[in-house]
Symmetry: C2
Subunit: 333 residues, 2 copies
Protein backbone atom coordinates (compact mmCIF):
# COMPACT_ATOMS: atom_id res chain seq x y z
CA UNK A 1 0.00 0.00 0.00
CA UNK A 2 1.50 3.26 -1.07
CA UNK A 3 -0.54 5.26 1.39
CA UNK A 4 1.06 3.67 4.43
CA UNK A 5 3.23 6.37 5.93
CA UNK A 6 5.14 6.46 9.15
CA UNK A 7 5.68 9.57 11.24
CA UNK A 8 9.35 9.57 10.30
CA UNK A 9 8.28 9.91 6.65
CA UNK A 10 6.39 13.14 7.22
CA UNK A 11 8.62 14.47 10.03
CA UNK A 12 7.78 16.77 12.91
CA UNK A 13 6.69 19.70 10.78
CA UNK A 14 4.54 17.46 8.63
CA UNK A 15 2.81 16.23 11.76
CA UNK A 16 2.36 19.72 13.20
CA UNK A 17 0.92 20.87 9.90
CA UNK A 18 -1.58 18.02 9.95
CA UNK A 19 -2.55 18.82 13.54
CA UNK A 20 -2.93 22.52 12.85
CA UNK A 21 -4.95 21.95 9.69
CA UNK A 22 -8.13 20.55 11.17
CA UNK A 23 -7.98 22.58 14.36
CA UNK A 24 -10.70 25.20 14.65
CA UNK A 25 -10.30 28.04 17.09
CA UNK A 26 -12.59 30.85 18.15
CA UNK A 27 -11.88 34.58 18.38
CA UNK A 28 -10.18 34.25 21.75
CA UNK A 29 -7.17 32.74 19.95
CA UNK A 30 -4.99 35.48 18.51
CA UNK A 31 -2.31 33.01 17.44
CA UNK A 32 -2.65 29.24 17.79
CA UNK A 33 -0.33 26.46 16.69
CA UNK A 34 2.78 27.66 14.83
CA UNK A 35 4.59 30.25 16.96
CA UNK A 36 6.79 29.90 20.05
CA UNK A 37 3.71 30.22 22.24
CA UNK A 38 -0.03 30.52 21.75
CA UNK A 39 -1.43 34.04 22.11
CA UNK A 40 -4.81 34.25 23.84
CA UNK A 41 -7.25 37.09 24.55
CA UNK A 42 -6.96 38.26 28.14
CA UNK A 43 -7.41 41.89 29.24
CA UNK A 44 -7.61 45.19 27.39
CA UNK A 45 -3.84 45.63 27.54
CA UNK A 46 -2.45 42.11 27.77
CA UNK A 47 -2.46 38.76 26.06
CA UNK A 48 -2.03 35.40 27.78
CA UNK A 49 0.78 33.22 26.38
CA UNK A 50 0.93 29.42 26.65
CA UNK A 51 3.63 26.97 25.58
CA UNK A 52 4.58 23.38 26.39
CA UNK A 53 7.84 21.45 26.18
CA UNK A 54 8.26 17.75 26.81
CA UNK A 55 11.60 16.15 27.73
CA UNK A 56 11.97 12.39 27.48
CA UNK A 57 14.82 10.34 28.92
CA UNK A 58 16.97 8.88 26.18
CA UNK A 59 15.81 11.54 23.71
CA UNK A 60 16.56 14.84 25.41
CA UNK A 61 18.82 13.66 28.20
CA UNK A 62 20.38 10.52 29.64
CA UNK A 63 19.50 9.14 33.06
CA UNK A 64 23.06 9.86 34.11
CA UNK A 65 22.52 13.58 33.55
CA UNK A 66 22.30 15.89 36.55
CA UNK A 67 18.67 15.76 37.74
CA UNK A 68 18.82 19.43 38.75
CA UNK A 69 19.76 20.31 35.18
CA UNK A 70 16.95 18.18 33.76
CA UNK A 71 14.49 20.08 35.95
CA UNK A 72 16.12 23.41 35.11
CA UNK A 73 15.90 22.74 31.39
CA UNK A 74 12.31 21.46 31.54
CA UNK A 75 11.16 24.83 32.82
CA UNK A 76 13.61 27.02 30.91
CA UNK A 77 12.46 25.78 27.49
CA UNK A 78 9.09 27.38 28.14
CA UNK A 79 10.63 30.54 29.59
CA UNK A 80 12.63 30.84 26.36
CA UNK A 81 9.45 30.48 24.29
CA UNK A 82 7.69 33.18 26.29
CA UNK A 83 10.75 35.46 25.89
CA UNK A 84 10.63 34.87 22.14
CA UNK A 85 7.10 36.36 22.09
CA UNK A 86 8.27 39.48 23.95
CA UNK A 87 6.46 38.34 27.09
CA UNK A 88 7.10 37.47 30.73
CA UNK A 89 6.49 34.04 32.26
CA UNK A 90 4.08 33.81 35.20
CA UNK A 91 2.93 30.27 35.94
CA UNK A 92 3.93 26.70 35.16
CA UNK A 93 2.13 23.36 35.24
CA UNK A 94 4.48 20.38 35.52
CA UNK A 95 3.57 16.83 34.45
CA UNK A 96 5.98 14.03 35.05
CA UNK A 97 6.41 10.33 34.49
CA UNK A 98 8.87 8.73 36.90
CA UNK A 99 9.92 5.10 37.45
CA UNK A 100 8.46 3.52 40.59
CA UNK A 101 11.88 2.34 41.69
CA UNK A 102 13.50 5.76 41.31
CA UNK A 103 15.19 7.10 44.43
CA UNK A 104 13.04 9.76 46.07
CA UNK A 105 16.12 11.94 46.35
CA UNK A 106 16.61 11.83 42.59
CA UNK A 107 13.03 13.04 42.06
CA UNK A 108 13.66 15.71 44.70
CA UNK A 109 16.66 16.93 42.77
CA UNK A 110 14.67 17.18 39.51
CA UNK A 111 12.10 19.31 41.33
CA UNK A 112 14.81 21.37 42.94
CA UNK A 113 16.09 22.24 39.45
CA UNK A 114 12.56 23.14 38.40
CA UNK A 115 12.11 25.34 41.46
CA UNK A 116 15.48 27.01 40.99
CA UNK A 117 14.52 28.00 37.44
CA UNK A 118 11.06 29.06 38.62
CA UNK A 119 12.59 31.30 41.28
CA UNK A 120 15.12 32.79 38.88
CA UNK A 121 12.58 33.72 36.21
CA UNK A 122 9.62 34.69 38.38
CA UNK A 123 7.49 31.65 37.59
CA UNK A 124 4.97 30.10 40.01
CA UNK A 125 4.69 26.31 39.82
CA UNK A 126 0.95 25.90 40.34
CA UNK A 127 0.09 22.30 39.57
CA UNK A 128 0.63 19.29 37.38
CA UNK A 129 0.34 15.54 37.22
CA UNK A 130 2.55 12.72 38.51
CA UNK A 131 2.64 9.26 36.94
CA UNK A 132 4.63 6.08 37.04
CA UNK A 133 6.50 5.34 33.82
CA UNK A 134 9.53 3.35 32.70
CA UNK A 135 11.36 6.42 31.47
CA UNK A 136 11.66 9.82 33.06
CA UNK A 137 9.31 12.22 31.29
CA UNK A 138 8.81 15.89 32.07
CA UNK A 139 6.29 18.09 30.34
CA UNK A 140 6.07 21.69 31.44
CA UNK A 141 3.45 24.15 30.28
CA UNK A 142 4.50 27.73 30.93
CA UNK A 143 1.93 30.52 30.95
CA UNK A 144 2.99 34.10 30.53
CA UNK A 145 1.71 37.53 29.72
CA UNK A 146 2.66 40.13 27.18
CA UNK A 147 1.55 43.72 26.75
CA UNK A 148 -0.25 43.92 23.44
CA UNK A 149 2.25 46.46 22.11
CA UNK A 150 5.19 44.21 23.06
CA UNK A 151 3.95 41.07 21.29
CA UNK A 152 6.40 39.76 18.67
CA UNK A 153 5.37 37.01 16.24
CA UNK A 154 7.42 34.97 13.80
CA UNK A 155 5.40 36.46 10.98
CA UNK A 156 6.44 40.11 11.20
CA UNK A 157 9.77 40.15 9.30
CA UNK A 158 9.92 42.79 6.51
CA UNK A 159 12.20 43.08 3.49
CA UNK A 160 15.25 45.13 4.49
CA UNK A 161 15.11 44.09 8.16
CA UNK A 162 18.43 43.39 9.84
CA UNK A 163 18.69 39.87 11.27
CA UNK A 164 20.17 39.59 14.76
CA UNK A 165 21.04 36.80 17.11
CA UNK A 166 21.86 36.86 20.83
CA UNK A 167 24.78 34.98 22.35
CA UNK A 168 26.90 32.45 20.51
CA UNK A 169 25.76 29.49 18.49
CA UNK A 170 26.60 25.81 18.31
CA UNK A 171 27.97 23.31 20.73
CA UNK A 172 24.81 22.75 22.71
CA UNK A 173 25.33 19.05 22.22
CA UNK A 174 28.41 19.26 24.46
CA UNK A 175 26.23 19.84 27.50
CA UNK A 176 25.26 23.51 27.26
CA UNK A 177 21.74 22.49 26.24
CA UNK A 178 21.05 21.29 29.81
CA UNK A 179 21.98 24.47 31.63
CA UNK A 180 21.34 27.26 29.21
CA UNK A 181 20.01 30.62 30.33
CA UNK A 182 16.81 31.58 28.55
CA UNK A 183 17.20 35.09 27.13
CA UNK A 184 14.37 36.61 29.13
CA UNK A 185 16.41 39.60 30.31
CA UNK A 186 17.52 40.33 26.75
CA UNK A 187 13.99 40.00 25.42
CA UNK A 188 12.74 42.49 28.04
CA UNK A 189 15.43 44.98 27.02
CA UNK A 190 14.69 44.47 23.34
CA UNK A 191 10.93 45.01 23.52
CA UNK A 192 11.25 47.96 25.89
CA UNK A 193 13.83 49.82 23.78
CA UNK A 194 13.22 48.79 20.19
CA UNK A 195 10.55 47.85 17.72
CA UNK A 196 11.15 44.15 17.02
CA UNK A 197 9.46 42.91 13.84
CA UNK A 198 9.85 39.15 14.31
CA UNK A 199 11.45 36.80 16.82
CA UNK A 200 11.96 33.09 17.54
CA UNK A 201 14.11 31.15 19.96
CA UNK A 202 16.72 28.82 18.50
CA UNK A 203 15.56 25.36 19.43
CA UNK A 204 15.88 23.45 16.15
CA UNK A 205 19.00 25.19 14.79
CA UNK A 206 19.61 28.56 13.12
CA UNK A 207 18.94 27.42 9.55
CA UNK A 208 15.72 25.70 10.53
CA UNK A 209 14.43 28.40 12.89
CA UNK A 210 15.27 31.25 10.50
CA UNK A 211 13.23 29.35 7.96
CA UNK A 212 10.18 29.46 10.29
CA UNK A 213 10.40 33.26 10.37
CA UNK A 214 10.85 33.46 6.60
CA UNK A 215 7.98 31.12 5.78
CA UNK A 216 5.58 32.80 8.16
CA UNK A 217 6.60 36.28 7.05
CA UNK A 218 6.63 35.44 3.33
CA UNK A 219 10.18 36.75 2.83
CA UNK A 220 13.71 35.57 1.99
CA UNK A 221 17.07 36.25 3.64
CA UNK A 222 20.77 36.57 3.15
CA UNK A 223 23.04 35.41 5.97
CA UNK A 224 26.78 36.19 6.19
CA UNK A 225 28.52 33.09 7.50
CA UNK A 226 31.51 35.10 8.78
CA UNK A 227 29.22 37.17 10.99
CA UNK A 228 27.70 34.24 12.82
CA UNK A 229 28.95 34.25 16.42
CA UNK A 230 30.44 30.82 17.02
CA UNK A 231 30.36 29.38 20.51
CA UNK A 232 33.76 28.93 22.16
CA UNK A 233 32.47 25.45 22.95
CA UNK A 234 33.11 24.75 19.30
CA UNK A 235 36.09 26.93 18.50
CA UNK A 236 37.89 28.40 21.50
CA UNK A 237 39.21 31.93 21.01
CA UNK A 238 40.68 34.34 23.57
CA UNK A 239 37.73 35.64 25.52
CA UNK A 240 36.47 39.06 24.58
CA UNK A 241 38.08 39.00 21.18
CA UNK A 242 34.92 38.01 19.39
CA UNK A 243 32.43 39.60 21.63
CA UNK A 244 31.49 42.32 19.18
CA UNK A 245 32.43 42.84 15.61
CA UNK A 246 31.56 45.96 13.68
CA UNK A 247 29.03 44.60 11.30
CA UNK A 248 27.02 47.68 10.51
CA UNK A 249 28.54 47.21 7.05
CA UNK A 250 28.81 43.50 6.64
CA UNK A 251 31.90 43.09 4.48
CA UNK A 252 34.44 40.48 5.51
CA UNK A 253 37.74 41.64 6.93
CA UNK A 254 41.13 40.23 6.31
CA UNK A 255 41.83 37.24 8.51
CA UNK A 256 38.24 36.64 9.40
CA UNK A 257 37.95 33.55 7.28
CA UNK A 258 38.47 31.19 10.10
CA UNK A 259 38.53 27.95 8.12
CA UNK A 260 35.65 26.97 10.32
CA UNK A 261 33.50 24.98 7.96
CA UNK A 262 32.83 22.49 10.71
CA UNK A 263 31.99 25.12 13.31
CA UNK A 264 29.71 27.05 10.98
CA UNK A 265 27.91 23.84 10.21
CA UNK A 266 27.26 23.33 13.91
CA UNK A 267 26.26 26.93 14.43
CA UNK A 268 23.73 26.62 11.61
CA UNK A 269 22.27 23.29 12.50
CA UNK A 270 22.83 22.43 16.17
CA UNK A 271 19.53 22.44 17.99
CA UNK A 272 18.88 23.83 21.45
CA UNK A 273 21.03 26.94 21.50
CA UNK A 274 18.03 28.75 23.02
CA UNK A 275 19.34 32.08 21.79
CA UNK A 276 16.96 34.65 20.30
CA UNK A 277 16.85 35.24 16.57
CA UNK A 278 15.06 38.46 15.64
CA UNK A 279 14.62 41.04 12.95
CA UNK A 280 14.09 44.78 13.03
CA UNK A 281 14.07 47.62 10.54
CA UNK A 282 17.41 49.00 9.36
CA UNK A 283 16.80 52.15 11.38
CA UNK A 284 16.07 50.26 14.60
CA UNK A 285 18.96 47.95 13.75
CA UNK A 286 21.48 50.78 13.68
CA UNK A 287 20.05 52.07 16.96
CA UNK A 288 20.64 48.62 18.46
CA UNK A 289 24.19 48.36 17.07
CA UNK A 290 25.03 51.64 18.77
CA UNK A 291 23.45 50.77 22.11
CA UNK A 292 24.18 47.09 22.47
CA UNK A 293 27.37 47.24 24.50
CA UNK A 294 25.64 49.42 27.06
CA UNK A 295 22.43 47.40 27.13
CA UNK A 296 23.56 43.78 27.03
CA UNK A 297 25.99 41.52 28.89
CA UNK A 298 26.12 39.07 26.01
CA UNK A 299 26.87 39.49 22.31
CA UNK A 300 24.00 40.66 20.14
CA UNK A 301 25.13 40.22 16.58
CA UNK A 302 23.80 41.16 13.20
CA UNK A 303 24.10 38.15 10.91
CA UNK A 304 22.13 39.11 7.81
CA UNK A 305 19.29 40.89 6.08
CA UNK A 306 15.72 40.01 5.19
CA UNK A 307 15.12 40.04 1.43
CA UNK A 308 12.17 39.58 -0.87
CA UNK A 309 10.72 36.10 -1.07
CA UNK A 310 11.99 35.51 -4.61
CA UNK A 311 15.60 35.83 -3.47
CA UNK A 312 15.24 32.65 -1.42
CA UNK A 313 17.53 31.95 1.51
CA UNK A 314 21.23 32.32 0.85
CA UNK A 315 24.38 32.19 2.90
CA UNK A 316 27.50 34.07 1.82
CA UNK A 317 31.12 33.28 2.65
CA UNK A 318 34.04 35.69 2.94
CA UNK A 319 34.77 35.45 -0.75
CA UNK A 320 31.25 36.53 -1.58
CA UNK A 321 30.24 33.05 -2.73
CA UNK A 322 26.55 32.44 -2.20
CA UNK A 323 24.88 29.11 -1.62
CA UNK A 324 21.38 28.06 -0.71
CA UNK A 325 20.81 27.83 3.04
CA UNK A 326 18.72 24.73 3.49
CA UNK A 327 16.97 24.20 6.82
CA UNK A 328 18.91 21.52 8.60
CA UNK A 329 18.43 21.15 12.29
CA UNK A 330 17.38 18.83 15.04
CA UNK A 331 14.93 16.24 13.75
CA UNK A 332 12.39 14.96 16.26
CA UNK A 333 11.24 12.14 13.99
CA UNK B 1 21.07 2.78 54.31
CA UNK B 2 17.76 3.41 55.93
CA UNK B 3 17.30 6.72 54.19
CA UNK B 4 17.22 5.20 50.73
CA UNK B 5 13.62 5.47 49.61
CA UNK B 6 12.01 4.74 46.31
CA UNK B 7 9.04 6.61 44.89
CA UNK B 8 6.86 3.54 45.42
CA UNK B 9 7.67 3.80 49.15
CA UNK B 10 6.26 7.31 49.51
CA UNK B 11 3.53 6.97 46.84
CA UNK B 12 1.96 9.59 44.61
CA UNK B 13 0.59 11.71 47.42
CA UNK B 14 3.90 11.60 49.26
CA UNK B 15 5.60 12.89 46.13
CA UNK B 16 3.00 15.62 45.54
CA UNK B 17 3.37 16.69 49.16
CA UNK B 18 7.13 16.96 48.74
CA UNK B 19 6.72 18.96 45.53
CA UNK B 20 4.17 21.30 47.06
CA UNK B 21 6.19 21.84 50.21
CA UNK B 22 9.11 23.80 48.80
CA UNK B 23 7.09 25.59 46.15
CA UNK B 24 6.73 29.30 46.73
CA UNK B 25 4.00 31.19 44.94
CA UNK B 26 3.13 34.87 44.76
CA UNK B 27 -0.23 36.58 45.27
CA UNK B 28 -1.39 35.78 41.75
CA UNK B 29 -1.88 32.16 42.85
CA UNK B 30 -5.24 31.78 44.62
CA UNK B 31 -4.86 28.00 44.83
CA UNK B 32 -1.76 26.11 43.71
CA UNK B 33 -0.92 22.42 43.93
CA UNK B 34 -3.60 20.33 45.64
CA UNK B 35 -6.94 20.90 43.96
CA UNK B 36 -8.38 19.66 40.65
CA UNK B 37 -6.95 22.73 38.93
CA UNK B 38 -4.80 25.70 39.86
CA UNK B 39 -6.70 28.95 40.44
CA UNK B 40 -4.94 32.05 39.16
CA UNK B 41 -5.69 35.77 39.29
CA UNK B 42 -7.24 36.70 35.95
CA UNK B 43 -9.74 39.55 35.60
CA UNK B 44 -11.92 41.47 38.04
CA UNK B 45 -14.72 38.90 37.86
CA UNK B 46 -12.97 35.72 36.83
CA UNK B 47 -10.16 33.38 37.75
CA UNK B 48 -8.00 31.46 35.29
CA UNK B 49 -7.89 27.67 35.87
CA UNK B 50 -5.06 25.36 34.77
CA UNK B 51 -4.73 21.59 34.99
CA UNK B 52 -2.60 18.90 33.31
CA UNK B 53 -3.12 15.18 32.76
CA UNK B 54 -0.58 12.81 31.30
CA UNK B 55 -1.50 9.48 29.70
CA UNK B 56 1.20 6.91 29.08
CA UNK B 57 0.88 3.80 26.94
CA UNK B 58 0.97 0.66 29.03
CA UNK B 59 -0.10 2.58 32.15
CA UNK B 60 -3.30 4.34 31.13
CA UNK B 61 -4.11 2.49 27.92
CA UNK B 62 -2.80 -0.27 25.67
CA UNK B 63 -1.52 0.36 22.17
CA UNK B 64 -4.40 -1.76 20.91
CA UNK B 65 -6.91 0.74 22.30
CA UNK B 66 -8.88 2.93 19.93
CA UNK B 67 -6.66 5.93 19.13
CA UNK B 68 -9.70 8.22 18.94
CA UNK B 69 -10.60 7.21 22.48
CA UNK B 70 -7.04 7.84 23.70
CA UNK B 71 -7.22 11.35 22.25
CA UNK B 72 -10.73 11.87 23.63
CA UNK B 73 -9.68 10.83 27.11
CA UNK B 74 -6.48 12.89 27.07
CA UNK B 75 -8.50 16.07 26.68
CA UNK B 76 -11.53 15.04 28.76
CA UNK B 77 -9.49 14.45 31.93
CA UNK B 78 -8.70 18.16 32.00
CA UNK B 79 -12.26 19.15 31.12
CA UNK B 80 -13.41 17.07 34.09
CA UNK B 81 -10.93 18.87 36.37
CA UNK B 82 -12.14 22.28 35.21
CA UNK B 83 -15.75 21.17 35.75
CA UNK B 84 -14.84 20.08 39.29
CA UNK B 85 -13.80 23.70 40.02
CA UNK B 86 -17.14 25.04 38.78
CA UNK B 87 -15.45 26.46 35.69
CA UNK B 88 -15.56 26.24 31.91
CA UNK B 89 -12.68 25.00 29.75
CA UNK B 90 -11.33 27.39 27.08
CA UNK B 91 -7.96 26.34 25.73
CA UNK B 92 -5.71 23.28 25.61
CA UNK B 93 -2.02 22.74 24.98
CA UNK B 94 -1.18 19.21 23.81
CA UNK B 95 2.25 17.60 24.18
CA UNK B 96 2.85 14.18 22.72
CA UNK B 97 5.51 11.55 22.42
CA UNK B 98 4.98 9.22 19.48
CA UNK B 99 7.09 6.37 18.05
CA UNK B 100 8.89 7.25 14.81
CA UNK B 101 7.58 4.15 13.13
CA UNK B 102 3.94 4.83 14.06
CA UNK B 103 1.53 4.98 11.13
CA UNK B 104 0.63 8.58 10.35
CA UNK B 105 -3.02 7.54 10.22
CA UNK B 106 -2.83 6.28 13.80
CA UNK B 107 -1.50 9.65 14.95
CA UNK B 108 -4.24 11.32 12.90
CA UNK B 109 -6.85 9.28 14.73
CA UNK B 110 -5.46 10.28 18.15
CA UNK B 111 -5.71 13.92 17.13
CA UNK B 112 -9.16 13.40 15.72
CA UNK B 113 -10.26 12.15 19.17
CA UNK B 114 -8.67 15.20 20.75
CA UNK B 115 -10.40 17.52 18.31
CA UNK B 116 -13.75 15.78 18.78
CA UNK B 117 -13.54 16.33 22.53
CA UNK B 118 -12.35 19.91 21.99
CA UNK B 119 -15.32 20.63 19.73
CA UNK B 120 -17.79 19.02 22.11
CA UNK B 121 -16.65 20.96 25.18
CA UNK B 122 -15.81 24.31 23.60
CA UNK B 123 -12.03 23.98 23.94
CA UNK B 124 -9.52 25.57 21.54
CA UNK B 125 -6.39 23.49 20.91
CA UNK B 126 -3.80 26.26 20.71
CA UNK B 127 -0.38 24.63 20.76
CA UNK B 128 1.85 21.96 22.17
CA UNK B 129 4.95 19.93 21.55
CA UNK B 130 5.65 16.83 19.44
CA UNK B 131 8.43 14.37 20.21
CA UNK B 132 9.65 10.97 19.21
CA UNK B 133 9.41 8.38 21.99
CA UNK B 134 9.19 4.61 22.32
CA UNK B 135 5.80 4.71 23.98
CA UNK B 136 2.81 6.84 23.13
CA UNK B 137 2.58 9.71 25.62
CA UNK B 138 -0.03 12.44 25.72
CA UNK B 139 0.02 15.32 28.16
CA UNK B 140 -2.76 17.85 27.88
CA UNK B 141 -2.92 21.10 29.82
CA UNK B 142 -6.42 22.53 29.87
CA UNK B 143 -6.98 26.18 30.72
CA UNK B 144 -10.36 27.39 31.79
CA UNK B 145 -12.11 30.24 33.50
CA UNK B 146 -14.50 30.50 36.40
CA UNK B 147 -16.54 33.40 37.70
CA UNK B 148 -15.23 34.20 41.14
CA UNK B 149 -18.62 33.47 42.73
CA UNK B 150 -18.81 30.07 41.00
CA UNK B 151 -15.42 28.76 42.18
CA UNK B 152 -15.65 25.51 44.17
CA UNK B 153 -12.62 24.14 46.03
CA UNK B 154 -12.05 20.82 47.74
CA UNK B 155 -11.67 22.65 51.02
CA UNK B 156 -15.17 24.06 51.48
CA UNK B 157 -17.08 21.09 52.99
CA UNK B 158 -18.94 21.92 56.24
CA UNK B 159 -20.29 19.65 58.98
CA UNK B 160 -23.86 18.72 58.12
CA UNK B 161 -23.35 19.02 54.34
CA UNK B 162 -25.05 16.40 52.21
CA UNK B 163 -22.62 14.43 50.04
CA UNK B 164 -23.68 13.86 46.43
CA UNK B 165 -22.30 12.05 43.45
CA UNK B 166 -23.25 12.28 39.76
CA UNK B 167 -23.75 9.23 37.57
CA UNK B 168 -22.93 5.67 38.58
CA UNK B 169 -19.71 4.36 40.01
CA UNK B 170 -17.35 1.50 39.31
CA UNK B 171 -16.52 -0.53 36.27
CA UNK B 172 -14.33 2.03 34.57
CA UNK B 173 -11.74 -0.66 34.22
CA UNK B 174 -14.04 -2.45 31.76
CA UNK B 175 -13.47 0.24 29.17
CA UNK B 176 -15.66 3.13 30.29
CA UNK B 177 -12.56 5.05 31.43
CA UNK B 178 -11.59 5.65 27.79
CA UNK B 179 -14.83 7.19 26.59
CA UNK B 180 -16.34 8.82 29.63
CA UNK B 181 -18.24 12.07 29.41
CA UNK B 182 -16.80 14.74 31.70
CA UNK B 183 -19.61 16.22 33.77
CA UNK B 184 -19.25 19.75 32.48
CA UNK B 185 -22.95 20.21 31.76
CA UNK B 186 -23.85 18.98 35.23
CA UNK B 187 -21.25 21.25 36.84
CA UNK B 188 -22.67 24.26 34.98
CA UNK B 189 -26.18 23.44 36.20
CA UNK B 190 -24.94 22.91 39.76
CA UNK B 191 -23.03 26.18 40.10
CA UNK B 192 -25.77 28.19 38.40
CA UNK B 193 -28.60 26.84 40.57
CA UNK B 194 -27.05 25.91 43.90
CA UNK B 195 -24.41 26.89 46.40
CA UNK B 196 -21.85 24.06 46.20
CA UNK B 197 -19.50 23.95 49.20
CA UNK B 198 -16.87 21.53 47.89
CA UNK B 199 -16.30 19.43 44.77
CA UNK B 200 -13.82 16.99 43.22
CA UNK B 201 -13.89 14.70 40.21
CA UNK B 202 -13.56 10.98 40.85
CA UNK B 203 -10.25 10.03 39.32
CA UNK B 204 -8.63 7.94 42.07
CA UNK B 205 -11.78 6.24 43.42
CA UNK B 206 -14.61 7.40 45.70
CA UNK B 207 -12.94 6.48 49.00
CA UNK B 208 -9.70 8.19 48.02
CA UNK B 209 -11.23 11.30 46.45
CA UNK B 210 -13.71 11.80 49.30
CA UNK B 211 -10.71 11.71 51.56
CA UNK B 212 -9.15 14.64 49.66
CA UNK B 213 -12.24 16.74 50.38
CA UNK B 214 -12.29 15.69 54.05
CA UNK B 215 -8.60 16.35 54.64
CA UNK B 216 -8.66 19.72 52.95
CA UNK B 217 -11.88 20.75 54.68
CA UNK B 218 -10.87 19.41 58.09
CA UNK B 219 -14.04 17.34 58.48
CA UNK B 220 -15.23 13.72 58.64
CA UNK B 221 -18.03 11.86 56.84
CA UNK B 222 -20.54 9.08 56.99
CA UNK B 223 -21.34 7.25 53.75
CA UNK B 224 -24.29 4.87 53.31
CA UNK B 225 -23.11 1.97 51.17
CA UNK B 226 -26.65 1.12 50.05
CA UNK B 227 -27.06 4.59 48.58
CA UNK B 228 -24.03 4.45 46.34
CA UNK B 229 -25.17 4.26 42.71
CA UNK B 230 -23.51 1.20 41.23
CA UNK B 231 -22.68 1.19 37.54
CA UNK B 232 -24.62 -1.38 35.49
CA UNK B 233 -21.18 -2.25 34.10
CA UNK B 234 -20.69 -3.98 37.44
CA UNK B 235 -24.14 -5.12 38.33
CA UNK B 236 -26.69 -5.03 35.52
CA UNK B 237 -30.21 -4.06 36.57
CA UNK B 238 -33.24 -3.20 34.44
CA UNK B 239 -32.57 0.28 33.13
CA UNK B 240 -34.33 3.10 34.91
CA UNK B 241 -34.99 1.06 38.02
CA UNK B 242 -32.11 2.54 39.92
CA UNK B 243 -32.05 5.95 38.37
CA UNK B 244 -33.33 7.72 41.47
CA UNK B 245 -33.95 6.52 44.95
CA UNK B 246 -35.60 8.61 47.59
CA UNK B 247 -32.74 9.28 49.89
CA UNK B 248 -33.83 12.48 51.55
CA UNK B 249 -34.08 10.29 54.64
CA UNK B 250 -31.29 7.78 54.25
CA UNK B 251 -32.69 4.69 55.93
CA UNK B 252 -32.38 1.42 54.08
CA UNK B 253 -35.52 -0.07 52.61
CA UNK B 254 -36.53 -3.65 52.54
CA UNK B 255 -34.90 -5.54 49.69
CA UNK B 256 -32.24 -2.94 49.07
CA UNK B 257 -29.45 -5.04 50.50
CA UNK B 258 -28.16 -6.28 47.22
CA UNK B 259 -25.49 -8.66 48.47
CA UNK B 260 -23.13 -6.59 46.38
CA UNK B 261 -19.99 -6.57 48.46
CA UNK B 262 -17.90 -6.96 45.33
CA UNK B 263 -19.68 -4.17 43.44
CA UNK B 264 -19.51 -1.77 46.36
CA UNK B 265 -15.82 -2.44 46.63
CA UNK B 266 -15.39 -1.44 42.97
CA UNK B 267 -17.62 1.60 43.36
CA UNK B 268 -15.52 2.74 46.30
CA UNK B 269 -12.11 2.10 44.88
CA UNK B 270 -12.17 1.95 41.07
CA UNK B 271 -10.31 4.91 39.66
CA UNK B 272 -11.35 7.00 36.67
CA UNK B 273 -15.09 7.17 37.08
CA UNK B 274 -14.81 10.90 36.30
CA UNK B 275 -18.07 11.61 38.07
CA UNK B 276 -18.42 14.65 40.33
CA UNK B 277 -18.43 14.26 44.10
CA UNK B 278 -19.71 17.37 45.88
CA UNK B 279 -21.18 18.64 49.10
CA UNK B 280 -23.75 21.29 49.88
CA UNK B 281 -25.70 22.46 52.93
CA UNK B 282 -28.73 20.41 54.00
CA UNK B 283 -31.00 23.20 52.78
CA UNK B 284 -29.41 23.35 49.33
CA UNK B 285 -29.32 19.55 49.33
CA UNK B 286 -33.09 19.26 49.74
CA UNK B 287 -33.52 21.85 46.98
CA UNK B 288 -31.38 19.67 44.73
CA UNK B 289 -33.23 16.48 45.63
CA UNK B 290 -36.48 18.14 44.59
CA UNK B 291 -35.17 19.58 41.34
CA UNK B 292 -32.80 16.89 40.13
CA UNK B 293 -35.11 14.96 37.84
CA UNK B 294 -35.99 18.16 35.99
CA UNK B 295 -32.43 19.47 35.85
CA UNK B 296 -30.29 16.43 35.04
CA UNK B 297 -30.25 13.60 32.49
CA UNK B 298 -28.14 11.41 34.76
CA UNK B 299 -28.55 10.28 38.34
CA UNK B 300 -27.46 12.73 41.02
CA UNK B 301 -27.45 10.81 44.25
CA UNK B 302 -27.00 11.65 47.88
CA UNK B 303 -24.62 9.12 49.42
CA UNK B 304 -23.83 10.54 52.85
CA UNK B 305 -23.27 13.43 55.23
CA UNK B 306 -20.27 15.47 56.29
CA UNK B 307 -19.53 15.13 60.01
CA UNK B 308 -17.09 16.65 62.46
CA UNK B 309 -13.48 15.67 62.06
CA UNK B 310 -13.45 13.56 65.23
CA UNK B 311 -16.07 11.20 63.82
CA UNK B 312 -13.59 10.04 61.19
CA UNK B 313 -14.76 8.50 57.93
CA UNK B 314 -17.30 5.70 58.25
CA UNK B 315 -19.37 3.63 55.91
CA UNK B 316 -22.67 2.11 57.03
CA UNK B 317 -24.38 -0.98 55.65
CA UNK B 318 -28.09 -1.75 55.57
CA UNK B 319 -27.98 -3.26 59.04
CA UNK B 320 -26.55 -0.07 60.43
CA UNK B 321 -23.11 -1.61 60.92
CA UNK B 322 -20.39 1.01 60.66
CA UNK B 323 -16.82 0.44 59.58
CA UNK B 324 -13.91 2.73 58.84
CA UNK B 325 -13.76 3.84 55.21
CA UNK B 326 -10.09 3.74 54.34
CA UNK B 327 -8.94 5.51 51.17
CA UNK B 328 -8.24 2.80 48.65
CA UNK B 329 -8.02 3.77 45.05
CA UNK B 330 -5.84 3.83 42.01
CA UNK B 331 -2.18 3.91 42.96
CA UNK B 332 0.16 5.65 40.52
CA UNK B 333 3.30 4.37 42.19
Amino acid sequence: MTDFMKLENIGEFGLIEKIAKGTKTDRSVIKGIGDDAAVLEWTKDKYLLATADMLIEGRHFKRGASPEKIGWKALCCGVSDIAAMGGEPRWAVVSCGLPKGLAVQYADRIYSGLKKAAGRFGVNIVGGDTNASDKIILDVTVLGEVKKEDLVLRSGARTGDFIFVTGELGGSIRGKHLDFTPRLKESRILVKNFKINSMIDLSDGLSSDLNHILEQSGVGAIVYDYLIPISPHLNPLPSGERKYRDISSPSPRRGEGRGEGESIHHALSDGEDFELLFTMSKKEGFKLLKAREKLFDIPVTRIGTITGKKFGVKIVDIFGRKRELTPRGFKHF
